[in-house]
Amino acid sequence: MTTLIKNGIAYINNRFSRRDILLKNGKIQRIAQTINVEKVEQIIDASGKYVFPGFVDIHTHLRDPGQTYKEDIASGTRAAAHGGFTTLCTMPNTEPVVDNIASVDYVQRRAKDLGSAKVYVIGAITKKSEGLEISEMATMKSGGIVAVSDDGNCVQNAKLMLNCMRYATNFGLPLIIHAEDYNLSGNGQINAGKVATKLGLSGISPLAEEVIVARDIMLAENCGAKLHIAHISTARSLELVREAKERGVKVTCEVTPHHLLLTEEACLNFDTNTKMKPPLRIEKDRQACIKALKEGIIDCIATDHAPHADFEKTREFDHAPFGIIGLETAFPVLYHYLVKPGYISLERLIEALTSAPVRVLNLPENTLKAGNPADITIIDLDAETTFTPESILSKSKNSPWMNQTVSSKVLYTFLEGRQTWKAE
């Protein structure tokens, strides 16, 4: 299959320039001002449209194996393609937990057979992510995992966490942490603050995140581990990361679209699609996240795509599960609410969705360059997207942006030259 993308505004070497791009045999064959070839199966006129490297999400829950009524590898990667993503890293908190090589193999095989995106597997830090014993990280590493994480859970025992870090480092594996001190978060439902007081919901103190961020930075500093902090959400956590980076600690962090765009105020109408961990914080924290993203204290954006079925989410707030979907909403909402009004540049957004996550987990390069895999998305920034239960390809529809219209629209996505998404 050969595809020629004509006249698109391409993101190359951190800049935008008008280019023709030829995709052949799964690779980017040529990039030039003008490419004229006689035999090409598909020509896309991308005049006025943007051509980006396919987006990379290093924090995805595909729920497969075990909870395929929420999502599976086929539906989740289709949703990814719809959102412009070509690469996902899956979190291991499935049923069973991906803490062994057989489960790693399963996810990789299914993704290869059915996937509309590349899938890299993240293995568990501890067996069953129970926080009691180290998982077989080295074996899973030989099976292809790119990092370890107990996401959804957090190793509470500091001594065990130190050992996990030392062991992971032994095999060159970065550790991704979901920072939450269970005693401090307790039965909390939303951020401990004004809205929790008003609604009578138990609060999750920012401290629940911050004390673990502080602890794990100290542990990583002690043993030289490569630490990545998932879905960072508070101003104080960001201060801790800033100081650690200045000291030369090998720490990186990610932020989700929802922590960049929403605050606890969104919970006021008891919408369970505003319930996630960490919880939506206050405006000061949100502003700190935007600033840190601009300055590079936050390395990348990750969706924390967490599908839950309607019957699970449409119920009493304190009985509904935590989490929202994100693959299909991420780019449009970030473009609409952050780039368009000028809070961050389009360049920084694209970097945070492409080369930055690749760097964080040391994944194969995916820039627009001849010879690289043809992982590409084409987006019309002037068009609009309306999120509806029908338009969302994920099996679950749990999004706070449901039924909203925002600017920009993903027109095409290519995975190794194969078209995985085309807008109507």
Binding site: K194, L199, G200, G203, F270, F311, E316
Partner: protein, 312 residues
């Protein structure tokens, strides 16, 4: 007396959805209902043919009886559904339950549930008006209305009246609704309790005063309200013992001296006599605790009357 379109079919989740004028209108209606309750024959036919459902997913015999009595005095039919959160969890969801009840032709739901926001859910599932009879720690607007009614009836006005509410503020839905309603009507509210039982940002949210010392909190109070102190809070690490709590925060003859002379004493019940309030105060001349209970029926009658479009 007659309902007006602004009330008909409207839910009551909390008092912030109602203006000061609307609250006063409800209180006036409650006054009329109270007269009916004092009659020999305490029943009027205004809601004949209407069906009220009390849906209680948390135990509270007192509140449920108050709602049911209110409905039957207005001649509405009453259906009562009781469950525990755990039984609801195991089998039917709240949605299933409401769908089933709705099929029976319910006109108004009165719900008590441990989850904040569940009255809104019941409305969403049923499309019918819902009166919140207490949702977790969030709100208890009918209790707030009866509290305000009791004060208004006794003192004749509300503006500038100072009330001090003492106890487990953190876990109290009554306080949250009282604060909204009372401040809306010009009362000055002080809340008092140990820091571990005081939620964050109270002053900013409600425009009330926060005091941690009882004597300081009671200064110049026209009304003092005690709140039920529950033993569970001890195992949650919020305070060490009922004895120590009582030593610092009990409403007694001695501590009540800091308030105005003849200050009214209130309590939403059920009381722990000897823990947050001593019998010498609870059963004193100053206490209007028993009146509160009677007024609860009148206020709930008024709400049902207004929401279901009653005529008198």
């Amino acid at each position: 007396m007659e309902s007006t379109p602004q009330f008909i079919g409207r839910s009551l989740y909390d008092l912030d959805d109602y203006s000061a004028d609307e609250i006063m209108y409800i209180l006036e209606a409650a006054k009329g209902m109270k007269e009916i309750n004092l009659r020999e024959y305490k029943k009027i036919p205004t809601l004949r043919g209407k069906t009220v459902c009390t849906l209680f997913v948390e135990d509270s015999t007192r509140t449920r009886m108050s709602f049911e009595l209110a409905a039957s005095r207005l001649s509405a039919d009453v259906v009562s559904f009781q469950a525990t959160v755990s039984s609801l969890r195991k089998g039917e969801s709240l949605q299933d339950t409401v769908n089933t009840l709705n099929a029976m032709g319910i006109d108004l739901y009165c719900i008590r549930h441990s989850s904040p926001g569940s009255p809104q859910l019941v409305h969403k599932y049923s499309g019918k008006p819902v009166i919140n009879g207490g949702d977790g720690r969030h709100a208890h607007p009918t209790q707030a209305l009866l509290d305000i009614f009791s004060i208004w009836e006794r003192l004749g006005n509300l503006k500038g009246i100072k009330i001090t509410i003492v106890g487990d503020i953190l876990n109290s839905r009554v306080v949250r609704s009282d604060l909204i309603g009372m401040t809306k009507l010009g009362m000055e509210v002080t809340v008092c309790g140990p820091r571990t039982l005081m939620p964050a940002n109270m002053e900013q949210i409600y425009g009330c005063k926060v005091e941690y010392d009882l004597a300081e909190a009671l200064k110049d109070a026209d009304i003092v309200m005690g709140l039920r102190m529950q033993l569970e809070r001890m195992t949650e690490g919020l305070f060490p013992s009922l004895e120590e709590y009582s030593r610092h925060y009990v409403l007694s003859k001695e501590t009540i001296k800091f308030a105005k002379k003849d200050a009214l004493i209130m309590h939403p019940g059920p009381m722990n006599r000897g823990i947050e309030i001593l019998p010498e105060i609870a059963d004193s001349e100053q206490s209007i605790i028993v009146e509160q209970v009677a007024n609860g029926v009148a206020v709930r009658m008024a709400l049902m009357f207004l929401i279901l479009g009653g005529k008198l």
